[in-house]
Structure formats: structure tokens, C-alpha cells
Point group: C2
Chain length 485, copies 2
Amino acid sequence: VSALNLPSSHLYEKLAGEVAGQIQSGVFRPGDRLPSVRHISRQKQLSISTVLQAYQTLEDRGVIEARPQSGYYVRYQRQASAALSEPRASTRGLKPEAVNLGDLTRRVLDDASQPGLVQFGAALPAAELLPGVRLNNLLARQARSGRVLPHQMGTAQGCPELRIQAARRAFLAGASLDPDGLIVTNGCTEALHLALRAVCSPGDLVAIESPTYFGILQVLESLGLHALEIPCHPRQGMRLDILQSCLERFTVRAVVAVTNFSNPLGCCMPDEHKHQMVEMLSRLQIPLIEDDIYGELAFGERRPLVARSFDLNGNVILCCSFSKSLALGFRVGWMDAGRWTEEVKRLKIATSLFSPLLPQLALAEFLETGGYDHALRRMRRTYAMRTAQMGASVLRHFPAGTRVSSPDGGFVIWVQLPEEVDSLDLYKEGLSSGITLAPGYLFAPGARYRHYIRLNAAIMSIETEWAVQRLGMLAGKLMSRQENR
Amino acid sequence: VSALNLPSSHLYEKLAGEVAGQIQSGVFRPGDRLPSVRHISRQKQLSISTVLQAYQTLEDRGVIEARPQSGYYVRYQRQASAALSEPRASTRGLKPEAVNLGDLTRRVLDDASQPGLVQFGAALPAAELLPGVRLNNLLARQARSGRVLPHQMGTAQGCPELRIQAARRAFLAGASLDPDGLIVTNGCTEALHLALRAVCSPGDLVAIESPTYFGILQVLESLGLHALEIPCHPRQGMRLDILQSCLERFTVRAVVAVTNFSNPLGCCMPDEHKHQMVEMLSRLQIPLIEDDIYGELAFGERRPLVARSFDLNGNVILCCSFSKSLALGFRVGWMDAGRWTEEVKRLKIATSLFSPLLPQLALAEFLETGGYDHALRRMRRTYAMRTAQMGASVLRHFPAGTRVSSPDGGFVIWVQLPEEVDSLDLYKEGLSSGITLAPGYLFAPGARYRHYIRLNAAIMSIETEWAVQRLGMLAGKLMSRQENR
């Protein structure tokens, strides 16, 4: 639209340029009515004739059209309508050398909203296993009931109905929590964020699992905290002997652990280890921030306990959410902040004031009226099968030397590629074949997991086997390219 | 329930104690079914007979009851059912000497969810002026349509539909924004929080209006930022001459201003002042964080411009929300972070990942399909009338020497009491008469506004005149008590 770069000497040409710019960026789309001449005139303190002249200029250029008795409308033009529907170019053509971890995380997360991609990237649950329609209907019913109207204020802690249901779920994980002490958050991310702000100051050192969920790294990075990686045993989670010796050598302000089905490993810390860890940290007065987002998705008979169940003095901050097992998009998490409860309430007010009420009420009603345990049993069985299938499929199609995790819960698998394969190259190649995945770079502060990838095994479609095969082929190609150098 | 303090020597007694505790804290309420004996046995790794014995102990004590073929249920008991419905005692009996500003803010905000109180405290809009039912119905329709299911992931930036509508509103305030650059937030609070984190580090100095909205002080406090108070002219907002001289003397990292209808003063910075301020700050490379939450509630003919409309190089971060003029409870705000956009996107992911989609879609549909400008006109007229009425009423009923603001927009009034009246005493006395208000302590870091109060004039009922009269009488009593000392 270079014809619209007008000299700014005339007021009407400046206005015409502004309006054209707004049309170009999609603020006003083809068919939309533009603000009335009078409205613009008053707002911008321009004369009616200046605004008219601006609109007529745009009309002359074929950008807008006047409709009698109605006003000015944006004309249909190829350019303007294509701009919004095209997939974003920025997701593609990633260059390893230009990588910034924060950007890479966002790209992988943004891939999750691209309907055309095979979703091995973000840890998205399987739609068909979730009571999505039922939850939406409950939300709709709550909204229509008028019990809560949109102007109403909530409290920093959230709806008592949901806090009661959350405490019931926690009771089945061994923790007796007081609903009055719980705080509803915008997903588990906000819970982790608030927990870390409550117990740490910028520059502090926080012990984390290695590998760990990239969301935890992002929160640490955004708060200016440093990470101390504690290696994980592939079946038992964080190595307590190493943790202990690190705590003796460094001033650690907090420990963050996904105790049940750690992401990406899928391993579960044995309950007796949790007990030991809670006692060790309590003795040293170092808070444990426990993320139990996968706890209910155990493949075995028994839902493992939370470390919080061994806590005697409020030293464990438990962070949970319904994102993995019910409704990621509702953004409803919750936390018990132990002895930092008052501080976390203050921080919640200063971060988001309160969380939307209707999603909380819909979830509370669903949890109260049942069906959750039934849905969970189905999820557990299915995810156990799908992670096993995908693991087998990876071993079948990927280059020799590839190894896969065999998780005890959750729905992701962790794949170790031959050393020659860089996971960022594979991510890039995968994208150009329409497949997204989570490169290993995301799971530690350094490039320690350069040749690892995490695959989401939750979503299974007719494309799944093909996509794994394709990735395996691409990995093989990257390997031989590397060998030929 | 002292009979339930059992010796812990027996496993079943320990379990009985735990279950009784959960009943006492309302996790399981009268009539609720308790987890099955088998479930508890598996979870807690106790024998079936131990769990049965625990349940039977509680049955013997009349706490729970067995129903044939169905399980164990909590019995109806006076105690347990009263616990949740009672108003919280903690809101009352506030002691001035024990005050912590953070707690006081939370108390005033929590008052807003107490249905029994006359709401002069938090800046709640008037329910009857808002399209509450329509918005809830739109939300319900969006939910039922299944267009977005609860398991779906959103992007850090939010729904394009809403961002386009937000850019249109901004265009009417003089700013041409690119919807692709906007970020949807959990209310304006999250927007301010993200903006301050993007441009400041803990310990930095931030210039703010004096008096200012307490939410801004809370965000500053929670981020470890220091505040530099710039006095406000009662009709023109922040004094630019004083700002300038302060910027010469101190290292200020950011300026935060509610440019249109500053809260609590209700004054509007003249557009030419905004222009000057933007130029001054751009020259000095100090970012302006503009909070325009009240901009659409102008009493005059014309909606004032945003300072962002004078910005040429992305130095102004504009923070807005639909909380005051549409739906406080939806928690939907938005921001244009200027040259900090990429940084703010990263911070958004690390703070709350993304915002719930359905409230965004409902708001976008409402804004698209119209009725908003009509509703706004009604709000403006009504709030102009109500703030004037309440101001007159205060002058009529409060002790001589009381002064009130006369706002040009928004819906709060700022009241200067005679020096003898402490606003915290008046808050306390008001509460015991069933009236909440915002004491002046909240509006500056120090006790500078000790004898000021902010009154919300939006909500008018048959009690309003009585409540103002009552407060005036209480203020008079406090005054004479002070004089007699």
C-alpha cells in the first residue's frame, strides 16, 4: 500500500494514512463500518470537512466505500483478508544460532494453537478423554443462572466451592488441607510464580530436577533466580543423595520438584523418598515447592501421595491445577502455600487481583457431581497404552542408539537421540513436515539435553504412526549429514 | 469437637482424627459421601479393617453415618453447617496500630464480596448499568457452541478477535495500535505488573501520582520497587513541572499515571499535558506506563485521548481493561507494551501462560455486535449525576471543614475530612454500621492521606443517603472524641 504513504502536510492526508494503517493491520476488516465522520471529528478535534476529505481520499483509492444513509465501510481486498488467516511465518525457519530460550519456549507453545500441525510438542491432553462438552455446558449453565454476574468481585483466594473440592482431591493424595487456606490461581504457572516470589529474592539459587519442565525454567528466568540442577534417577526422580550434598555446599533458597510423574521423565518419586525429602528440607528450613499437576494420572493402581502429606510445619508449598486432567483452557490452578499463605495472598492481589469466578464454579460443580474418577480411570488406562505404543514406535523408526523413557504416569515420553542429532535441527525439520515437538534444549538451563526430545503421546490420530516414522527418517538424515561433514 | 483429639497410637484413631478434621474444615460437608473404605485403604495403604474401624469410631461419635449399599456420609450437625455461611470475623475489629498496608488493602477488597455491606469501598461499577446478563449469555453461547473446548491451548497474546476490538477502542482514544502487538492480560492488574517487571528491577524508583490507586502501590510493593510521589493538581492530574524537576534530581526508571480520571481524584490530564509528558519522557528515555481503565467513562462530550496517542517510539506502555465499563469478573485486560512487547510476552508466559479464552470471545462478540457505546453513554450520564449527588450529600452530612472532589469521569469521589478524623477509625466505625469505604492510608506509601477517604459513588440504593449520613455522624463523633482528649 505504498500509495498511502502521504505527505503529512495536510491534516486530512495524515488522517487518511492513519485509517489506512488501521485497515492494513486488521483493526477494521473488509465489510466493517468505520467510525462515523462526526465521531472522528469530535475525538480527533478535526473539522467535519477534514474527516470527510480523508474518507473521500480513501474512497478514491478504493480502500473504503460510502454506503448511503449508513456510513463508510472497508472494501473487500485480497490483501487485507489474507493477513489474518495465514499461519504465522515466524514459527517456521528457526535458526539455531539465533536462539533465545524464551523465544523457543514461546514458539513451541504457539505451535499448540496451530491446527495444521501434528501435536507432539506442548503437553496437550487428549480431547476425547476429557469431559469438554460437559464442562462447557456447566460453564454455560452457571453463566445463564445469573448466580454470578460479570461485574461481581471475587476474593484473592477464589471460590470456596472449588477450594473444598480441591481439598477433597488432596485428601485422596494423603494431604489434609484446610480449604480456607487454599488460593485459586490462574493455572499452575501462576501458583509456581507466586510460590517462588514468596520464598525467594532475585539472585537466589533454586534446586530443580534435571531434566525439568521448561515452564519452571521460564518462571525462574523471569524472576532472576538461578537454577541448581539435581540429576533425576530415571524411575525415582530427584536424587536425594545429590540434593543433600548440594544443600551442604550451596545456599539454596528453595527446591522445586514435580514429585509425581516428573515432566519430561514421567518417573515418580517413591513415597518414602518424599518423606525423607520433606524431613531433610524441614530440618534445613528450605521450602519445598511441589508441583503435582500429573499426580492423578498414575498408570498403576494407586494414586501416589504428595510430599505435602508428610509436611508437619507448613514447609511444603503444594501447587496443582486441573489443566492436565480436566480443562487447560479454564486456567484454574490452586495452591496451599503452607506458612507463606498470607504472603501469597498479598502477591496474588498484586499480580492478578482475583481469578475469574465462572470457570471455578463450573469445575466445582463437575467435581461435586461426579464422573471425575471415572474419567480419570479412562485417562490412566489410555495414556499408559499410548505412551507405551509411542515408545515402541520411536524405537522402531528412529536411528539405532535411540532410547526412550517408560513413564509411570502422565502422557509424555522422553527420547534420547544419537549424539549426532541436534534436537533443534529436528524441531526445524519436523515443522517443515507439519510436526511439532519439544527440543531438549528447553528442559535445562544449558544445552545438556541437546540431543533429547520430548514427545507428547496423549493425542493419537491416524497421522501419529506416520509422523513418528517421518521424524525417525528426518533424525536419520540429520545423523548422516553430520557424519558426512 | 474436643472428643476427637485421639491418641495417635492406633492407626485407625489417627485416620478417624484426620477425617474428623476434614469434616470440621468443611472439606466434607453434612450430607456428603466420604471416600469409600476401599479407596481410602488403597490410598493410605491401610488395611480395610483399619479404615472400617476409623469410620465406625466416627459413626459411634455421631459424626458420620453408614447408609446401606451406599457408604459413609457426614451427618448433619449445627456446627459444621454454620461455619461456611457466617461472615468472616477477620474483616471486623481492625486495630490501627497493627496495620500493614497490604492487609488493609485485602480487607477493603474482601469487603466487596460481603453482600451485607453498603459498598463505598472498592471501585465497583453499578450492576444495573452493565450488560451483565447479555455478557453472561454470550459467554454461555460461546461455551455451548463448542468452538473452543476446555482442553484447548491459547497463545500468550490472547484471542485475535478481542485484540482487534481493543485496537478499535484505542483508535477512538487517538492511538493507532497494531492488534498483532497487543497482549491480553488477567485484568489491568496483570498488565501493570507485567509492564513494571519489563522496565524495572527491584530497588528501582518509579514516579507515581499522589494520591494514587492502591493497586499500583501493591504492585510496586510486591516487586520491591520504590515510589516517588508526584503531587496532582486537583483538575489536571500529575504536576509536570514537579515531575520534571524530580526527574532531574532522581534516577527514575518509569512513570506510572492514570492519565484519564485518575483514581481517587477523578481529574483528567489535559491532552496537551499528555503530549508534553510523552515528549519529556521520550527525551529522557524513561518509559511511561499509562493506565487508562477509566478513559471511556468521561462525563464530558469527548472521550479524552490516551498519552499513547502522542508516542512516536514505543516509549509508552498502555494498560487497559474492561473491568470498569463491562465485566470486572471476567478478568480481561490488555496492553500495548511498545518496545517492550517481546519481553512482556515472555513474562506473560512465565506468569500465567495464557488467559482463559471464553471470556475473551464473549467480550469480543459483544464489542463487535454493538451496544457498547450506548451503554457507555448511559454510564457516563449516570455516574456524572451520582458523583455529584454523593458529593453534595457528603457536604451536607459531614462535619464542617470537609471537602470533596468533583470528578470529570469515573465513579469515585475523594473526601478530605477535618484533620481530627482518622480515616482508619472511620473505616472501622463504618464497618460496624455495615458500611465499607477506602481509607486514605491506601492511596500513598506514607500516611499522607490519613484524614482522607475515597467513596465509591457508582452503586446507588435506598441505603445510600442513610449511609452517607451515618458516616458523617460517625466522623463528627470521632472528631469530638479527639477534641475532648
